[in-house]
């Protein structure tokens, strides 16, 4: 009978440990995100022969913005004020769902890949609405452009997620990462295409270079920056932080689907630590790749963006089809 008395303890301890794992993963994604952005910026400056501002620069920016007071435009509705919290909140929620460090996430079953796309859309819609709320032409223009890019990128994202789901027979992110990470090495043509397609989607969704220049302040061409023009102080800090988390999360999805080796499958201390180390290593490589790509590409004209995203969609569809033709 002693066994039955230890079982609940075991169960509670297990849950506690899983909760800690979840907390560790969410916190590491949220607090690591600005460093990742700093690394990408550092690589870009080095490649463009500029003196880099240091890897911690995004943190300094965030701290400065958090200390400053908020200036609200006249006529700003409550929607404008709650949007930064909604954006940051949905990114934090997404950080709890994407298996970046470990796949053993208690929150995991709450939302699958399709719900995750929904969470990102929620943040985007509020961002667009708040940009239109003030009524400045630039915010309005940026919001419209963002929505255009989003509606073109979303079908491609769904097809990529479906391809990964077909192979692993589940739409749950943790299960996908576990199945793809646990298999012995096989070359899936569909995964090669899905990875390429998803990389194009990352560039488009996170306002990176061929679609939008993240460091531009030229009103006529900017998309993401135009939406944030009216924000200041802690609101701007939350928005910027949110978008850096989003960039990290997209890369985490890429990693957990297509490079899932090294992600921890259990919530042990060593597992979490090695999972984190692997994540940092992969992000280090991918961040360098992103910087090289961004330094070699020129920004596309806005009317070429549909072509870019049509290519992403096409790759995703080929991935989807080649799963049925070549792999079954």
């Amino acid at each position: 009978m002693t066994q039955t008395s230890t079982v609940p303890h075991q169960w509670i301890a297990d849950l506690l440990f899983k909760g800690l794992g979840e907390l560790f993963q969410t916190a590491s994604v949220i607090f690591f995100a600005p460093i990742f952005l700093g690394w990408v910026n550092l690589c870009r400056s080095c490649l463009q022969s500029r003196r880099p501002a240091g890897i911690l620069q995004p943190y300094r920016d965030l701290l400065k913005l958090l200390r400053k007071e908020v200036v609200l435009a006249t006529g700003a509705s409550p929607l404008f004020r709650i949007t930064p919290y909604i954006v940051f909140g949905s990114m934090g929620l997404a950080a709890a769902l994407v298996p970046a460090v470990t796949t053993d996430l208690p929150f995991g079953p709450a939302a699958d890949a399709i719900a995750l796309v929904g969470i990102f859309s929620l943040a985007r819609i509020f961002m667009a609405l708040s940009a239109m709320d003030i009524g400045t032409p630039f915010g309005d223009m940026g919001a419209r452009r963002e929505m255009m890019i989003a509606f073109l990128a979303e079908p491609a994202t769904m097809m990529v997620l479906f391809t990964a789901s077909l192979i692993s027979r589940s739409t749950s992110l943790s299960t996908i990462a576990e199945t793809l990470g646990g298999r012995h090495f096989t070359l899936y043509p569909s995964l090669v295409f899905a990875t390429t397609s998803f990389f194009l989607i990352i560039l488009a969704e996170n306002s990176r270079l061929p679609i939008d220049n993240p460091s531009t302040h030229l009103e006529l061409t900017m998309i993401h920056e135009a939406m944030l023009l009216e924000y200041s102080g802690r609101h701007l800090a939350l928005m910027e932080w949110g978008s850096s988390i989003k960039l990290l999360l997209y890369f985490s999805i890429l990693i957990s689907f297509f490079l899932p080796w090294g992600i921890s499958h259990e919530s042990s201390f060593g597992g979490l630590l090695s999972g984190f180390a692997f994540l940092v290593l992969k992000l280090f490589i991918l961040g360098t790749l992103l910087a090289i790509l961004e330094s070699t590409l020129a920004k596309l004209r806005l009317f070429r963006a549909p072509e870019f995203l049509a290519a992403a969609y096409l790759l995703a569809v080929i991935a989807f089809l080649s799963h049925f033709i070549l792999e079954v």
Binding site: V192, F193, P306, A310, L314, I318, L321, L326
Partner: protein, 226 residues
């Protein structure tokens, strides 16, 4: 006949190369410049020759080694060189005018791929080669090359579409029946080479007569019906 190798990794590699060939076919559909089209054609030839080489290794058919070699020499080195030389002499390296805009062409291309995959489904059951699942890919390449020919105006790009169609045919033949008889393959290779040279002469004639390589001027050759 050499011994056949049964390796799942090899089959996966052939599948991957097949997928790359399909991808290049799509890239050709999307490309806007003659020179990049020629480069893509060379890439397609390279992937094709690699895949024939691998199929030869997997099936043990020694004929296919020759076929892979001819493909490499002819389609990766010789034909792109002739085409590039022609386009430089004709000064047509620049933009291609398309009849339908590029995103729409690509959507049509997806439809073509779905159609050819479903068309290949019954053929798969009849074939007995290790790489039979690629018949659909070969068919899709042929039809996509047709699409390249249909959606472009200039004679040069239509010829590249035609040559890439031959790539698709060779790919289908390799994967469906381990290639055509050697004599037939050699004859086709020679045909394509001679064809490319004759087309080159044609281009100069066409341009001399119409002062353009745009094929819509051929309409002038019709006699008035009134």
């Amino acid at each position: 006949m050499l011994p056949a190798h049964d390796s799942p990794f090899g089959v996966e590699m052939v599948n991957l190369l097949g997928a790359f060939i399909l991808l290049v076919a799509f890239a050709m559909l999307a490309s806007r410049r003659t020179l990049s089209l020629i480069r893509l054609f060379a890439f397609q030839g390279f992937f094709l020759s690699m895949s024939i080489f691998l199929v030869a290794f997997l099936s043990g058919e020694s004929n296919l080694y020759y076929s892979a070699f001819f493909t490499l020499v002819l389609k990766v080195i010789l034909l792109p060189w002739i085409l590039r030389d022609l386009s430089q002499r004709l000064k047509i390296g620049g933009d291609i005018e398309t009849l339908v805009n590029v995103p729409v062409t690509m959507i049509i291309g997806i439809g073509v791929v779905v159609f050819s995959f479903s068309l290949a489904e019954p053929i798969l059951k009849a074939a007995s080669t290790v790489t039979r699942s690629l018949i659909g890919v070969g068919l899709a390449c042929v039809l996509l090359s047709f699409l390249v020919m249909i959606t472009r105006k200039k004679a040069m790009t239509q010829i590249i579409g035609f040559l890439s169609m031959e790539n698709g045919l060779l790919f289908s033949a390799t994967n469906a029946t381990y290639g055509m008889p050697m004599v037939v393959e050699l004859a086709i290779a020679l045909d394509v080479l001679i064809g490319a040279i004759i087309f080159g002469i044609f281009f100069f004639q066409i341009r001399e007569t119409f002062e353009s390589l745009d094929l819509k001027y051929f309409e002038k050759l019709k006699e008035d019906e009134e």
